[in-house]
Subunit: 408 residues, 2 copies
């Protein structure tokens, strides 16, 4: 199925080369398509790695192995297969992953555990070992490619390539953090993330990189949802080559660590937003800001309950300021809420406060806001200091068309 | 919006009169429509009552008051308003409910707490007291009506009236249990129910009636979902007039109590299925049977995770035996599951067992099954003895059309 680009698409950013990272793509022919579907990143010796993974218990071998590998903290290569998720394929799927790891490790002269593998696409079909072998052999001989080519190659139902970049100053050095991501359906909250890859030339110890990534994940990838369905393969990996030559960061107290963590958070937020912008069938990007909750975590859960409500998402699709549906979704979240202190607003205009519709509520500016591509919903619980912001898209006929007709 | 009847609709059953119950309907003009929208049931003195209610914390005054009233165990009348849910309307909404209770109580010479009120429709608009007063005055003068008329009058976006009936023998007496229900969207699991009303001429103590209703609710209304959204007004009430003259039931050990509980469960299951059959946009009725789970409760949660998955529901809409999406939904449920013992089947044919697609899986009979109106999904966790069955409908363009265009 060839889909038109999302109306919420944004151009791919200009991303400079990152020292210690070389990208290549090739055709493994995982599906009967004529496009590159195997992405390879070669990483300098000494590259640190951190990862966050799906919490779906039916996860793929790639996720199981990747979780163990990330704990070791070191990486030399990344291979991403598009068109076959290799999930729910038992020992045959695991063998295919181990074959790729061994093949690349032999080429680089590293440990198989330094080679990270991800796969995305149909569930339940073992990744064909012959196609994987030929694809890896081809990619190891391929010319280096651009960030945009790599971002496009990891995609499946994505309608546009997604990348992000940020910089941070650590001591005398400016480091770059860049990443790409794929995802548009089976995007869900609370569990984890997408297939996303972040690269930096900063020197960062693996433990600190993991803490920065986990913190960023909680405020970005864990705060988006397209359809409440959590993939079996979600993975975000961050690689730090150290080539920038900064004084290595090992602790949050190190000079520049704050700036690095902030830039990483920035890249994660950009990437997370791009996934929502390519949400299946999305016509509108929705930001839901929750304040006054019992805790930040409670605020996030309430935000996600609203973001996952089909009735809220269809109301936004219909450009209807239906705050009653927002009230319903707040109330079903299972979190502390008091009907009589609740406020709901759209586009900065409160429709209800303290549990009552506002007598002087003017729907005209709200109606105008709802016609735009970027929708803002404010929810004030009036209970405490907990706050969170989550992002989602509307639910449209496009989502049904894509998922009722397409065999993923 | 006038909707064609659901393709899953079934004819209204023949329900005999139940002694001690008189039904009437009238026009309160809660919306600009020309239809009856106020339903009244007058109940014999000494009628026992039990209820289950939404767990949405932003519930309506009707639910708050009804929950307190049901604890008292006695009822003389029921009033149901259609077109306005009176939820999120603060003290003004509560005043309207109390006015209705007082008006009916004055007419019957009973306590206001004997008068149960429900409302369904738009959220956030206080029920207009003048319209309610005139409507109640009219209904108290109206001629008795049929079960089908009452079932139709409590509906809002429902496309067909929904009723059920069953009988039980208690000693020498045959008692009748009949009910009607409304609901097609904002239908969700785990929290509670719909607007449903069950009437019986059996003599049953309120405490036992409550225990029977709560048990039936857990296996019926709490096992259905249309769209995962839990209404602010869901209510099921059961009224027992005692007019059948059976030896009053007060305990599960009393002769006939088993039969009564089984018949009540039967009526609840019929009513729950009818709500799914009128799910917004539904084209297929889906039964999901979960076995081998760690516990019955775990099985129910896994079943509901599958039933609420937009990707599973759209796959069924597309007549696609996409068991990979079922695996995904099982894995995201947050319940014990082991990928390597999991089995998935459609229409009685296993597609995967022990974590692997079956080598001899024949998709032809499955493809034929998926073209039918009644779909069966089997999920065997292979872990324990926990089992549950849940019911849902598919997710189609019809759901989007109804909810993106209709101001509920």
């Amino acid at each position: 199925m060839d889909l038109a680009p999302s109306p919420l698409a944004v151009p791919f950013p200009a991303i400079p080369p990152i020292e210690g990272v070389m990208l290549r793509i090739a055709r493994a022919h995982y599906k009967t398509w004529d496009r590159c579907d195997l992405t390879y990143a070669e990483l300098a010796e000494g590259t640190a790695v951190a990862g966050v993974f799906t919490r779906n218990v039916c996860c793929s071998s790639e996720v199981e192995l990747g979780r163990e590998q990330a704990r070791l903290g070191r990486a030399r290569a990344l291979v991403v297969n598009a068109g076959n998720s290799n999930a729910f394929t038992g020992y045959r799927g695991r063998e295919a992953v181990e074959q790729i790891m061994a093949q690349v490790a032999a080429h680089l002269g590293c440990e198989p555990s330094d080679v990270f593998v991800s796969s995305t696409g149909v569930i339940g079909v073992p990744l064909p070992k012959d196609k994987a072998y030929a694809g890896v052999a081809a990619v190891l001989e391929a010319e280096p490619c651009s960030w945009e080519d790599a971002a496009r190659t990891i995609g499946t139902t994505d309608t546009f390539p997604k990348g992000a970049v940020a910089r941070a100053v650590i001591g005398e050095r400016t480091v770059t953090i860049a990443g790409f991501i794929k995802g548009s359906g089976m995007i869900a909250p609370d569990m984890a993330t997408m297939l996303g890859y972040i690269f930096t030339d900063a020197a960062v110890a693996p433990e600190l990189l993991q803490r920065c990534l986990s913190a960023a994940n909680l405020a970005t990838f864990s705060c988006i949802t397209v359809d409440s369905d959590t993939s079996t393969s979600d993975t975000v990996l961050a690689f730090a080559t150290g080539a920038a030559g900064n004084a290595p960061l090992a602790d949050f107290d190190d000079p520049g660590a704050d700036a690095f963590a902030a830039a990483l958070l920035d890249v994660c937020r950009q990437l997370a937003h791009l996934v929502v912008r390519d949400g299946e069938g999305a016509q509108k990007f929705i930001e839901i800001a929750v304040t006054g909750a019992a805790s930040d975590d409670s605020a996030r859960r309430i935000g996600l309950a609203v973001a996952n409500s089909p009735l809220v998402k269809t109301a936004i699709a219909g450009e209807d300021a239906n705050w009653g549906r927002v009230v319903m979704a707040v109330g079903k979240a299972g979190e502390p809420a008091d009907r009589d202190t609740l406020g709901i607003g759209f586009g900065g205009v409160w429709a209800a406060r303290d549990g009552l519709p506002l007598a002087d509520y003017d729907e005209a500016p709200v109606a105008a806001h709802l016609k735009s591509r970027e929708i803002r919903i404010d929810i004030d619980l009036g209970l405490g200091d907990g706050a969170a912001t989550v992002w989602t898209c509307d639910l449209t006929h496009g989502y049904i068309a894509i998922n009722a007709d397409y065999r993923s």
